[in-house]
Subunit: 340 residues, 4 copies
């Protein structure tokens, strides 16, 4: 493994440390590697060592490349300095992707506490969006400390470019209340962004990987350390898992449900499809659906009964529509513009 | 193991099945057993076998007594019939607690989907409250199907008697959207009720224990089956774990934080204590705190800085207040009436 | 779940308790179920409750049917009474397989301590062999207590009909030394029987499932309770896992290596194949192998270099032999009689 | 994390790579760190990258310092060159222990295949013994390849200085048969050395950490990757776990049983104690034991009944011997010289 320490902004003490593992050769399943960009916490007054290398090591072990960004803190934390640091780091990693053996479109940001705030801003507002975000006891409702005047709240900024998120926290956290995480996942759910969330009954703020070297297990519930392996497994679902010849297909959909996606598809529920006038119009041309459409709900406010939740693909198959016709309908639906 | 099938209400086909393990004798660590009351799902039109015995078996394996309630469904589901069934079942278990080897104050309700709705109503509104609730892909926002007219929403009903909850669901659930769970845990957090929550990236509705005998692992993410062991570990945190001579002390606090509890304590933050006028008054008698109090924030709206988040116990220790005096203060605070 | 208590031999207090789960219906993946026959320990003076139902429950949870045999103990333990009890129980389960929803060729015996001795005898010497054996801190070197005169040692009895075994024990066991398990797996390895083994650094004898309700975790290492889930996963490898429509193909081979199997196959090493004269003769007809065979080792005592460990299938593919010719060779090899 | 690459022997291409994490400061539980010295496999013809850094990373994540030794291979592999390399590396680590933040008496060697052979030699024959050994699919029966003439077998060399061992392998391994591991743990058991062992039903040789980046999970059973976390947990049992202020007391005893230890103690069985004439003599002075001793077995060949397996401490307590007298007896026993 090769370590590179890169000064991103000497005037603000911003550094990027790259932990780089080899590809190819004996690592026949590794063409390139997915990566994590770790953003330690520390209330924008410091970058905690506890949430830096120990986190990088967890993902390195799983085969990732890992980067630790020590962003602007203390007097340098004036917004948008930390975000600028992030943009610079992510742009550099993508620029160097080939040399560093990184998939440029499989880079997750992993942030904790204030670093989780920064990771959340990156996921919702940055120019260089991460491809997934792991947010630990993150200050997502905003983190407007004296050190960081002007930092925006994350939750209201969720948009269609926000990548899938993995959100974990302790319910008993007194420093960053768990509501920060709950409101954020609520907004993700409403926006249809895919996510996973683990909120543990009790643990102190700042448990990092919860390894015994870092944190006393007596003070936290036994599930806490699982977030590490769970986030690794989730990233394999989102990015694709290592296979011979490279990463496989992602198992985790980009959107929480097909109905939540920004375009219609055959996997949408019949209720969703029927709520879009242009889609209703398009389906009129399918004779087998005639009777169905008369009975179907006619709008967003319609009865959300079980029938309306069956996917269009299932309905078409059930109605005996030939498969090439089904595919044609799928293509037609995908082109309908939605005012999301 | 002994199985008893009890007809609770023959007219409505309501039955309680009791799976009872022995106590004492060779089971020297088992004076009595904690218990689960399982409420299967099925949209109030049926009680699913998939969410009945397989769930009971998971907790039996962990040393619990287990009960499965087949409550009023179909034409009998008119509200409040299902809730009445629950009340009758829970009252019977507590009445029989000694004979059945159950701790009457360590009984969790475990409900799925519509059964999760019923479990949620039990946790928030029943006369016979459970001591903990495990809620799986539960219809907590309400479940007003034709079969179940008048069933109330669960989330708005959360009160101070609501026990700790373990909430799990799939983010990709199209039948009972994950918002049901998110809004519920948001309300728990605001009410200060302790909880744990696991929301998995993708799985179909109705995965039950997610054992391979029940559900194809190809369709769900690898973390899903963990809810079973995690809920068992969480119940040991809430009820106390098996020890020689009986259950030990619970590790999981009743309230998410000391500040959330309905009475003040030494573990409250100084900010919380100071926001209560009677508590401020009481602390005036402690000379070592004089200087501190001048500097301290004066109300609920005060600066929620780091200092205000330190616990009173820590402050008193730091200020050199003798330990018997500290205990006296604790008792005094506990008696202050709070308009919660 | 249905429980049946069957008196197998009232004069000797021998009973079989059947825990039976439903098949089909809502359990669409369950045509029939694999089963376990549990043999509790107790030094042939008793059948311990700690190693009876709690063990059955672990496998029931995983979708198995479970049977507990309380065999002849105390004054009735005179050999071969306990073995006769086993034969009677296993024969009955197979006779009732259809009614009880059991795959008659997917029944594992699970025995502990003295019950592990009995399970070991069943696996190596019984008429009604189990299809797999799980042996916990088992007295495999023999268990000739006064209560059980004449009971044979298990290890010397291993034969070609012995099924795959899962062997676990504690290294610090002072009652049944771990050598019992080590000598047994050594003999399995030499016989080529597939097995899995977990020997934990420290735990007292008789930990059963090691659930906290049964055993204090303070006295044993953290890995101990894993044998339960590991044995369930191993049985799915040996019997096939639940799939839609029934159990899938086994992943775990019957023999530890192809060389250990009682017939030759394409997966045998070239060294193994060449050590059998009839096989050498058969391969002479393959022109592409001519040069290879001149260089190849000529007998069991030959140099066991890396080359000799390559499989015949690989060699044939490398030599460019067409695939139907490869299959023909495979069939020919399978018919060669080996004096095993 | 700091990486140092040290040339140990340029003429033979021997290098030691040190991965060093900080101590103290924010790592308040970390005074120093336990360490692993990783010995990759490769048949003494190479040092496999697959068994180098990925292994180091697993232990680094758990809070260890990690060292990778690339020892003499190929033409340089002539025995005892590789062992000399090991001795040099281990001596250097112990010399630098303070500077490198390592506990000099808590260093495990972790070896695979041929590197497992070297690790085994280190554990049984080196001057600089490791404090624990993790041996993966190790060639413990000897590894006399052309590249490594004269390398000794490991198993016959086990002695009283051999540290606790963690032994794992695949039962279906065709390159290094599982008998290598079984014979080794059998000899450890006979010598009374504490160990833990996991032999997995099927996996190819050389699976390393079995991370998906390294090995296809389709070819191996699901338990295989667990050796990593299990070995970390076992090392915490052997070395002591991280606690505030340093490592705690080891939970895993040095010897598999008290009877196996090279000195007598109160935890020995009464049978073991009575088999030593000097100990019998010593106990004669305890009046409460008089009657007991008349009944007790008199030698190594005596009946190994249950009574003889009770610990002396239990007997003395039961006989009402005062605790200071018990301690005196313990001290007296510890001084008896045993011809082990």
């Amino acid at each position: 493994m090769h370590v590179e320490a890169i000064e991103l902004n000497p005037a603000r003490n911003v550094t990027l440390t790259a932990y780089l593992q080899p590809t190819d050769g004996e690592f026949r399943r590794v063409v390139r590697r997915p990566a994590v960009l770790v953003l330690p916490g520390g209330g924008y007054t410091m970058c905690s060592d506890r949430e830096a290398d120990p986190v990088a090591l967890a993902y390195l072990k799983a085969g990732f490349q890992a980067f630790v960004l020590r962003y602007s803190v203390g007097e340098h934390a004036v917004w948008p300095n930390p975000l600028d640091d992030y943009e610079q780091a992510m742009a550099l990693i993508r620029l160097q992707a080939e040399i560093w053996g990184v998939y440029p479109d499989k880079i997750a940001v992993v942030g904790f506490s204030a670093g989780g705030h920064l990771a959340g801003v990156a996921a919702t507002s940055a120019h260089e969006r991460p491809n997934a975000a792991v947010l630990g006891y993150a200050a997502l409702g905003g983190c407007g400390t004296p050190a960081n005047t002007g930092a925006p709240a994350v939750t209201p900024a969720i948009d269609d470019l926000t990548p899938p998120c993995f959100v974990f926290a302790s319910v008993s956290d007194t420093l960053v209340p768990v509501q920060n995480s709950i409101e954020f996942i609520g907004a993700l759910a409403n926006a249809g962004i895919s996510f996973e969330s683990h909120l543990y009954a009790f643990a102190p703020h700042g448990f990092s990987t919860a390894e015994p070297a870092l944190e006393d297990s007596a003070g936290m519930c036994s599930r806490v350390p699982r977030w590490v392996d769970d986030s690794v497994a989730w990233l394999a679902d989102v990015f694709g898992a290592f296979e011979d010849g490279g990463l496989g297909e992602p198992r985790c959909p980009r959107w929480s449900t097909a109905d939540a996606a920004p375009t219609l598809s055959l996997d949408c529920t019949i209720g969703r499809v029927m709520s879009v006038p242009a889609a209703r119009e398009s389906l009129r041309s399918v004779p087998q659906l005639a009777r169905l459409m008369e009975a179907a709900p006619t709008g967003a406010g319609a009865d959300a009964g079980l029938a309306a939740r069956v996917s269009l693909r299932t309905i078409l198959r059930y109605a005996g529509v030939p498969s090439d016709e089904v595919e044609r309908i799928g293509r037609e639906l995908a082109e309908i513009e939605l005012g999301h």
